[in-house]
Symmetry: C2
Subunit: 454 residues, 2 copies
């Protein structure tokens, strides 16, 4: 086993200075949390919901939030026997009462409806849930969160800085966040890693040797097999993998990042330099150097949350790549970018055109019936250049249906596997942009994406 | 089993009228054979080789030769106990004595030296051989021929027309001839097929259902397994497959031809229309229609016999195609043509150029040592566009070494697997011709080849 150098204490301090909330920040947050608790309790009382409990959950409640983030999760816990309908109506009513004090209110919907408000500059989720006996008896997905909170709170004292270091390190690496756009590490997962391995340094060192199928079971209570790259058995629910959302690539990117960091312990891993938006000239230069073909499917960004949008974008990205490959275009890579107005699915191809002639290999001559049918079909087709026998098989040179990738996408994209919401946008009209025409897209965020992707 | 229509008697007669030697032709041939036998015997006597026998073998001797062909095989048979050296010296001396009467003499070499002469307009091989006890005790490959002759002569009487029909049919199909250029059916193989199946018609009908691995063992004496498509166990030597030279494709082309013929019994299968040499305009039109890339390796035709030249050409054709594919060029098809002066190995490609960028996929990140070495290597390389992790594997976009197929062949063809004789020609210099430049080649035979190939 390779011996990596230890991480100098002063480096950690330099990082923490930049990411650890100050005493004032902390005090402010606690004040806001208390205020919110009081408001929720009052609203519940006012609406006759006397048996409702208010719980502060999430990193803010556990002292593991990064300075500068302003997220508070307030859970409005109803007794287990409450009817689902009543929880939804009354829960939202309470939340709406509190929201009267907010600068901004957004109606959200996971398994239940909940409110997202901006309250004194904080981004606050007001989430109704059931108070259940244990995390394995939840009635709704969100019911689990209070158990996570309790588990972590009971064990994280004294390790908060390690969690902060790891979160910032993962941010630098681009793997922090379990939302479906990122498919990385959730805050809870990060905390469990620190609880399990004891420190940021030890986690990073151990991660260097991770392999897909890595299992961490803090409570030693799992009894089922998981297929994911990393399995962090939920200490509060033996059936659940906390790392289920982590993709293979993000798992590997993290492993790689840990190795690089430990080979060369530097602050830049926590705060990597920003990518600058590519200028037109730079785009053109890169295209010229690569000499590949660039295609982008351009649609209007649908008005849906990212957790719904991204899975559908990734699905279409994959499905369109398969379409291109089915028609013999060689795909070098694909990518997805979505901004406020424009959404793009990008393809880099070996070539955007193919010859008219396409070789179509049929069955072996000696598989008589099959072979004769094949031959008959293609002999009768007008658009055939020629036919011969090669390696014992009937082989016809036929007219390629789509010699131009752009035309293929224009005609066939709508037949790809497209999620319901995205389908709407695609049907409303899409455009295929090729090569240098990508410069017509000026959004600086897109240009930053391009700077990494191209 | 499909029922094919029978072949009308009058069709066979029409064909035979055109291919069966006339009485005068036959008489002339017999006369020439007798004359040659006398001359060889006299020469042998003159040189003191009193125990030499003269044998007429081949189709001329068996009455199965096609009108218009003028081939006579004269075997000069020495007693088995003759020393190899003596056979070679004395054999050639006898042949050379006979050759004094010839219009033209050529020194040839198979396992032994022999002479090919033109005698009164006939193409005559004068071949020294050993008289052995049986075909399984031969001392030299040619010793087998007299046994073949005896076997066929004893059984072919009355079936000569059937052999002629089959030979002409195979000619029309392009599968007649066992030389290494054609890799088709030898005359002996054709005769054995007729002996086995009883007629041209029955052979054609049975062939429709052939599969690779088809075994015909007239004497029921084979005890070994063969790998070839068609196994015709030599009736005179149980270990030998008479059809060993038949390629899979020629085997299949014949099957296909039989099916087509029996579906539609027409004389054109015996005398297919000639392909006309393509004119420049036609070449250009075809290239334009196909929109593929054409490349030809052009060398000076080496001064060697076809049986040596073609295997080396096919080997180079295959090896160069593998080279192109190794460098990611997609090969649609390949071809070989060799004329008196010019020899060409042709490649049709999806595209003659590829982008500069080449995707190079490495080991999975978790195969630590391996993966780290790979990453280190490419990170240090200057000619790298970028690197990322995809499907868990390190992936680098590197500078493609040969983005142009022509340059790849120019630089790397010499490292292909090239036979000794061809190597000479390649080393002496080759040229790569692209696309429309193929029109610089005016040889009408090449243009005929192109008409079929392109």
């Amino acid at each position: 086993m390779e011996i990596y150098t230890n991480i100098p204490e002063d480096l950690k301090q330099v990082v923490l200075e930049r990411i650890k909330p100050t005493v004032a920040e902390r005090k402010n947050l606690i004040g806001i949390q208390e205020e919110l608790a009081t408001e929720v309790k009052a609203a519940a009382e006012k609406l006759g919901a006397h048996d409702v409990l208010v719980k502060m959950v999430g990193s803010a409640a556990r002292g593991t939030w990064l300075s500068g983030t302003h997220d508070i999760d307030v859970f409005i816990c109803f007794p287990e026997e409450t009817l689902r309908k009543e929880l939804e109506t009354l829960g939202i009513a309470i939340a709406r009462e509190v929201a009267k004090l907010a600068e901004c209110v957004k109606d959200c919907h996971a398994e239940h409806p909940y409110l997202n408000i901006v309250f004194k500059g904080f981004d606050v989720d007001l989430v109704p849930c059931f108070s259940v006996l244990s995390a394995s008896h939840i009635k709704s997905a969100v019911d689990r969160t209070p158990f996570h909170n309790d588990f972590v709170k009971a064990r994280i004292k004294g390790f908060e800085d390690e969690v902060l270091l790891m979160k910032q390190f993962m941010r630098g690496c681009g793997v922090y966040g379990s939302e479906l756009k990122t498919q990385g590490f959730s805050g809870y997962l990060t905390e469990l890693l620190i609880i399990h391995y004891g420190s940021f340094e030890n986690t990073a060192k151990k991660a260097c040797f991770w392999k897909p199928g890595e299992i961490i079971d803090i409570m030693q209570h799992s009894r089922i097999q998981h297929q994911e790259s990393l399995v962090m058995v939920d200490p509060t629910d033996p059936k659940r993998n906390v790392a289920a959302a982590l993709s293979l690539d993000k798992f590997c990117i993290f492993i790689d990042y840990c190795r690089e960091f430990l080979k060369n312990v530097e602050i830049k891993f926590f705060f990597p330099p920003c990518f600058l938006p590519l200028r037109d000239k730079e785009i053109l230069q890169r295209l010229k150097n690569r000499k590949s073909a660039l295609l982008a499917v351009f649609i209007k960004t649908p008005n849906i949350v990212e957790d719904i949008l991204y899975p559908q974008l990734y699905k279409l990205e994959h499905s369109a790549a398969v379409l291109l490959m089915d028609y013999e275009f060689s795909v070098i890579k694909t990518g997805v970018w979505s901004g406020k107005n424009e959404t793009l699915i990008m393809f880099e191809l070996i070539s955007g055109t193919l010859p008219n002639v396409k070789k179509h290999v049929g069955p072996p001559v000696w598989v008589k019936e099959h072979a004769e049918k094949f031959k008959e079909k293609y002999e009768r087709t007008e658009e055939v250049f020629g036919g011969y026998i090669e390696n014992g098989r009937y082989t016809f040179e036929i007219q390629r249906k789509y010699p131009v990738a752009k035309e293929l996408l224009e005609k066939q994209l709508i037949h790809c596997s497209i999620g319901k919401n995205l389908r709407h946008s695609v049907n409303a009209g899409f455009k295929i942009i090729e090569n240098a025409d990508i410069c017509t897209l000026k959004d600086p965020n897109f240009r930053v994406f391009l700077s990494k992707w191209l």
